[in-house]
């Protein structure tokens, strides 16, 4: 998978001659290898960093550092009154990258948009089964049911006809799976008998061109000088794949990389004290929670759930489990999402009141299971420890807790069961910055027996989130979501535990980096001081 060899070798040699401190090359110590370079085929953030944020554009884009949606390859769009037709006016003069095997003969147009979606949704499309395509996000976001058809109005106008109104559609189209591929390149590779090259030697319209990838070692990019926005400030972008967090920090200190993600929580204070390292931080777009099974007694009683929530010392969890790199969650959506209801008051930590409330509900000698995830996640870096703290808190109010855990696949599967015994520790990281992506997926009636681990189907809440889904403006939707959060707090299907704080350590010479609330690591707009 080596392209533009001559140019790149010359480029790298020039860089080598200029010395390691070249202002033009940014080295990012990434945490792992991308699974491939077609973002629609994968679901991991590591892959999205290496593909959608560098090589590709989408019709709409998330403004870096926010969850606001801005025009991308679509200059503008109109939504029909009934909310089922989205007409996108496409940007003209946008160039695709080229490589050793392909030189684009035309600019980006409507055919590329239609191809990018139909390859995922149309089983007859020749690319539907290429690279074992499972199109997890396309399916997970219900696109096959939602998109009735995509119509080419003219070369620079496409119309998405939906089966029902879907307010988050514009945000959905800014997600990685909606990256726009070159149909011309796809056709050329199909003809050459190497369709998998779409995934292995990617061509996009993004700010960086793919140069080469060596698994578990390095991904190289160079600047796209023909980019439709201002070209990137850095000429060469290198992902030095470094799985161990301590080693990433050593490399950062040694000047072998400029930016690193996912530091060890234990190292953060030392990093902040180090004059050679800047640490940026932002609240993560995630929530960690304890979901009761609201269909089984006594957890079908909201007062019991509320009482248990009052017994949990969340500050101790932040201190011990997150080691300071988290903040207490009071709502089921993180504060970085619009419609976050800051007026809501969290349940006070009050074991005596909790005990009294349980007694008032006639609950005594309660014993329950708490499920601890076997894996680390940003929203829960140590579920076992968290479960132990909750076990101790519950024991203070006379509730006996047994901690259980399963292998991750088993855990995900068994925790979905409607008759599941016990409360489950789990969490969620947002995909598109839309409250629907948290509230409907995790707490909607459709998710019962699936992603709704509380097995909670509460009609007033459901009505609010369903109504919000079809309203045209963000302001109108936000009102309903704020109300929904009030209902959630009263009903307490979960104990909301924490939102993580994302730390990004970098060298002082890195300028213009913004921590992206959606979790991606984005280098367009970043420069290196001389």
């Amino acid at each position: 998978m080596k392209f533009s060899r001559t140019i790149t070798a010359a480029m790298m040699c020039a860089t080598a001659l200029a010395g390691a401190a070249s202002a033009q090359t940014l080295v990012y110590c990434s945490e792992g290898s991308p699974e491939g370079f077609d973002p629609a085929l994968y679901t991991s953030g590591t892959t999205f960093d290496a593909s959608e944020h560098t090589i590709y554009d989408k019709l709409t884009l998330f403004e870096t550092g926010t969850t606001n949606v801005i025009p991308g390859l679509a200059e503008s769009w109109e939504v029909s009154e009934d909310g089922t037709e989205y007409t996108f006016n496409l940007r003209q003069g946008v160039k695709f990258h080229g490589n050793d095997q392909f030189t684009p003969s035309r600019d980006f147009n409507a055919d590329d948009v239609i191809f990018s979606f139909m390859r995922q949704g149309d089983p007859e499309n020749p690319y539907n089964q290429v690279s074992g395509g499972t199109w997890e996000y396309f399916n997970g976001m219900s696109m096959p049911d939602l998109i009735k058809e995509i119509v080419k109005v003219d070369d620079y106008t496409v119309k998405f006809v939906l089966a029902r109104p879907e307010a988050p559609m514009i945000s959905n189209l800014a997600m990685g799976f909606a990256s726009i591929m070159s149909k011309e390149y796809a056709d050329a590779m199909l003809e050459a008998g190497t369709p998998e090259m779409l995934n292995q030697a990617p061509i996009g319209t993004g700010p960086f061109k793919f140069v080469a990838y060596q698994k578990d070692a390095v991904v190289r990019y160079m600047r796209n000088d023909d980019y439709w926005r201002d070209p990137a400030a850095i000429e060469n972008l290198v992902f030095a794949i470094t799985p161990d967090a301590s080693v990433r920090y050593q490399k950062l200190q040694a000047g072998e990389c400029h930016v690193m993600p996912y530091p060890n929580p234990a190292d953060i204070q030392a990093m902040k004290d180090n004059p050679d390292v800047n640490v940026m931080e932002q609240q993560g777009l995630n929530v960690g929670y304890l979901a009761y099974n609201t269909q089984l007694p006594p957890f079908d009683n909201p007062k019991v759930r509320k009482a248990l929530n009052m017994a949990i010392d969340k500050q101790a969890i932040i201190d011990v489990v997150f080691q300071g790199s988290g903040e207490i969650a009071k709502n089921p959506i993180p504060p970085t999402i619009w419609s976050y209801n800051d007026a809501i008051e969290d349940d006070a930590f009050d074991p005596d009141a909790a005990k009294a409330a349980l007694e008032a509900e006639g609950v005594s000698d309660l014993s329950m299971k708490v499920w601890a995830m076997p894996v680390q996640r940003p929203y829960n870096p140590n579920a076992r420890r968290m479960a132990e703290l909750i076990q101790a808190d519950f024991s203070n109010i006379g509730v006996d807790v047994e901690i259980v855990s399963y292998e991750w696949g088993e855990y995900l599967d068994r925790s979905k069961a409607v008759d599941r015994d016990g409360a489950v520790l789990l969490g969620w990281t947002g995909d598109n910055g839309d409250p629907d992506n948290f509230l409907a997926v995790l707490l909607g009636c459709d998710g019962v027996g699936g992603s709704n681990r509380a097995q909670w189907c509460h009609e007033p809440f459901e009505k609010l989130i369903q109504d919000a889904k079809v309203l045209p403006t963000q302001e109108e939707r936000a009102k309903l979501y704020e109300e929904a959060q009030v209902v959630f707090k009263e009903q307490a299907p979960w104990a909301t535990i924490a939102h993580s704080v994302v730390f990004m350590p970098m060298r002082p010479e890195v300028e213009g980096y913004k921590v992206h609330p959606l979790g991606g690591h984005i280098f367009y707009g970043v420069s290196l001081a001389e």
Binding site: K2, R5, T8, A9, M12, C13, T15, A16, A20, V27, E35, G36, L41, T43, S131, G132, G133, T134, E136, N139, G140, E196, N199, Q200, A212, Q214, K215, D216, A217, V218, R220, V238, A240, I241, T242, P243, D244, S246, V247, Q250, K251, Q253, A254, E256, Y406, E407, W408, G409, E410, L412, D413, K416, L426, G427, W428, T429, V441, G450, S451
Partner: protein
């Protein structure tokens, strides 16, 4: 010798079938479903689950799945990774040269230092050097690899700045893979400084990976030498007035080497199986981390294919060791 080789090769067949059976069944015996793991917290609907099961072939009886796997193996097709969607064979051989290069360097490091250390310790049995060496070897043997690796990085890369922190070569060098061995490819590239960079990047991972084999070889050589040195024929050789060096290196060492070669063979097999921790800490793009990730993700084709290929490599190493036995000791060759 040919007969000896053929008889050894024949033993490969049941081992090969055994490995395919074990790798096929063990990964399936582990709890956890690859489709559920792939879907993560998002989950997957029952219809979609059924579709994916059909797509991956999990809806067919296990016997049929094994038959398909075996016929694929015999055609040289080890399947395609569920995760990266790339052929297992291609992925393995893209990564294996890195593991092999590091393993060879670590083994050279261990043998070159371990063998003389063991011999000197045996000759000086009970003296200060012997005690110091054996204590050091014990420490080396018991050292947690991740701790040792991080300590080396902090001291030699962080404080002293003598070696790079991780990777196979400075990112400033870029050239085509010819052999996959960075030392050779860097020479072939003709780029000034590339070979030096590749060599310097090898130092710390070689020392870290070679530490345990070094300790094992030193201890094994010492005990084998002590045993041989107390044999009657050595006493006879000495009584005949042969020079001490000749007795030690010609008469004693050759016989003492047989158990040492066995240990070295086993250690090479272990190293080829993937120095998971060393590779992870030094961002070394080898097969160890690849296999580990695949087990976590329940990537059946990679686990099955990777294990099979590693087993074949270990079998080849064992065969080489057997041949070496024959060369060292003609009695074995004739047996």
């Amino acid at each position: 010798m040919l007969k000896f080789l053929l008889s050894r090769l024949l033993t490969f067949v049941p081992t090969f079938i055994g490995v395919t059976l074990i790798s096929f069944s063990f990964i399936r015996l582990l709890p956890g479903d690859p489709i559920i793991v792939m879907a993560g917290e998002r989950g997957v609907s029952a219809e979609r689950y059924a579709e994916l099961q059909a797509q991956f072939g999990f809806d067919r009886p296990l016997v049929i799945q094994y038959w398909d796997y075996m016929t694929g193996v015999l055609r040289g097709d080890l399947g395609t990774s569920f995760v990266t969607k790339k052929p297992v064979f291609e992925e393995f051989f893209a990564l294996f040269p890195a593991t092999l290069e590091l393993s060879i360097c670590a083994m050279i490091f261990a043998v070159v230092l371990g063998l003389p250390a063991g011999i000197i310790a045996a000759i000086n049995r009970g003296k200060l050097f012997d005690r110091a060496l054996m204590s050091t070897a014990l420490v080396g043997y018991s050292m947690p690899i991740f701790w040792w690796a991080l300590l080396m990085i902090i001291v030699f890369s962080g404080w002293l700045g003598w070696t790079p922190v991780s990777g196979r070569i400075s990112l400033l060098f870029y050239f085509d893979d010819v052999t996959g061995f960075m030392l050779i490819d860097s020479l072939l590239s003709g780029q000034a400084g590339a070979f030096r960079s590749a060599a310097v990047h090898l130092i710390l991972p070689t020392i870290v990976l070679g530490t345990i084999p070094l300790a094992v070889i030193a201890r094994q050589t010492r005990s084998a030498m002590l045993e041989v040195l107390s044999e009657d024929y050595i006493r006879t050789a000495r009584a005949k007035g042969l020079p001490p060096n000749r007795v030690t290196f010609i008469h004693a060492l050759r016989n003492a080497l047989i158990p040492v070669v066995t240990v070295v063979g086993l250690l090479v097999g272990t190293l080829l199986g993937g120095a998971i921790l060393t590779e992870s800490i030094f961002s070394w793009p080898g097969i160890g981390k690849w296999m580990l990730d695949s087990i976590y993700r329940r990537d059946y084709p990679v686990v099955q294919g990777g294990l099979l290929l590693i087993a074949v490599m270990v079998m080849i190493v064992n065969l080489t060791v057997d041949v070496l036995y024959g060369l060292i000791n003609p009695k074995i060759r004739k047996a």
